[in-house]
Amino acid sequence: MRILSSSVGRKILMSITGQLLIIFILIHLIGNSTIFFGPNGINAYAEHLHSLPPLVWAFRLFMLAAISVHIAYGVTLTLENKAANPGAYAVKRNLKASFASENMIWTGLLVAGFILYHLLQFTIKGTPDIVVGLDSANRPDVFRMVVTSFGNGLISLAYMFAMLMLFLHLSHGIPSFLQTMGWNNEKTIPAFGTGGKVISAILMLAYISIPAVILAGLLKL
């Protein structure tokens, strides 16, 4: 298949998988925000979400496939790009490239590392801070688990740092996926650049609000 070896084809696959991951980030944020409704909110949401195991697993496998393609092509394209530019300038001044655009591979890998930790913590429930139990309605007590873990300042800080990495990744990733799909022209290029940063910042702040509110003691058991 031509698309799997070509420069533009692989970028299109990265763009599409990136878009799927962004949709996931949005849905996950909406789901997470049920925590602001207290134990009844998030525990009911979690129980509802897991009531159909085949659907949960189909979704998980789909996301795993998307992120695998995204990481695999991200790494190979970056390695090719490093090889294509010997980087031997004694003096190099960038006019447009940003910290975010130049460090996509590192912010991406840090976010990937965070996803592994996040899954180990709240999905597999394998980290020492995890409190497993049932609530008064006999549902898995996700609220208690999350509030207890985020009560630990270090854990909350790690989450906030990961969201900063996600912000950097998306602030270049959003305008970049639009360009790679060709959904761009002279007028939209600057607008998408600014829009990408704004949307990424909103997502970061929204995600950070959960550990921040818990750390501040506004959301407690």
């Binding site: 031509r2 698309i3 070509s6 420069s7 533009v8 084809g9 692989r10 970028k11 299109i12 394209l77 090719e80 790009n81 090889a83 294509a84 530019n85 010997p86 980087g87 031997a88 300038y89 004694a90 003096v91 190099k92 001044r93 960038n94 006019l95 447009k96 490239a97 940003s98 655009s101 130049e102 996509m104 270049h172 305008p175 970049s176 360009q179 790679t180 799909m181 060709g182 959904w183 761009n184 022209n185 002279e186 290029i189």
Partner: protein, 246 residues
């Protein structure tokens, strides 16, 4: 004015190179950057030394031959200006100037500031043309070209093929160059017949010639002496998707 130059000197493709320091004295602000180098070279020749080798031709900013990275930016960073059109009034007395060749895997250094840019020609050979029958001259208006399409194609055709986009790109990619050529022909009725094969063949030739992949830094547009817009890269991406569906 007097300037201190740090110039990349390399005797041949395989030879090791290094920055060497030269003093440029009594430089006129009205001189072009290349004329300033001409004078430095005259002094070097008088001293029996090897002059600095650099590419140049028209010195009018339209041929795309001059190719120097000045203080870290291809063509010196003055907007829409080639090295030959960069004048010494852009610098100040006592300035230190770093002059280096284009650096990319696909642009091997030949000597000093001269690089081999045949990789760009390989991309054109792969599809940067329209096939047509030879014979009598066609009627002037036999093929109607809408004004908007003609203007768009002309904007893309402004590319002079200097390779500054590659030299500026953190990925050593020739995507801006390739996209300008693809977009120029894709916008015109004459380019339609071979559009799908063209975009595939030219992007593959770009890869084969050792250029990197575009990751949308847009450093290329900022360094381009003709201000070629990255909208043409979006156009290439659309053309590629159309080709995939065929």
């Amino acid at each position: 004015m007097n300037l201190t130059l740090h110039v990349w000197r390399q005797s041949g493709p395989k030879a090791p190179g290094k920055l060497e320091q030269y003093e440029a004295k009594n430089v006129s602000p009205d001189q072009s950057f290349l004329e300033m180098l001409d004078e430095v070279n005259e002094h070097l020749i008088k001293e029996g030394k090897d002059p600095i080798a650099f590419d140049h031709d028209c010195r009018e900013g339209i041929c795309g031959m001059c190719s120097q990275v000045i203080n870290g930016v291809p063509h010196g960073g003055r907007e829409r200006t080639t090295v030959c059109q960069l004048h010494m009034r852009s610098f100040n007395d006592g300035d230190t100037i770093y002059i280096e060749p284009w650096r990319a895997l696909a642009f091997p250094i030949q000597k000093d500031l001269i690089v081999d840019r045949n990789g760009l020609e390989k991309i054109i050979q792969a599809g940067g043309y329209t096939s047509c029958h030879t014979g009598g001259v066609a009627d002037g208006n036999a093929i109607l070209v809408p004004k908007i399409a003609a203007d768009y194609a002309m904007d893309a055709a402004e590319c002079i093929g200097c390779g500054a986009c590659v030299a500026a790109c953190p990925n050593g990619s020739a995507m801006l160059y390739t996209s300008a050529k693809v977009a120029q022909l894709a916008a015109l009725p004459q380019g339609q017949a071979e559009a799908a094969e063209r975009v595939c063949a030219m992007t593959e030739a770009m890869q084969e010639a050792g250029f990197g992949n575009c990751s949308n830094h847009y450093e290329c547009q900022a360094a381009c002496p003709k201000g070629i817009n990255v909208k043409f890269i979006a156009k290439l991406n659309r053309e590629y998707q159309k080709a995939l569906l065929k």
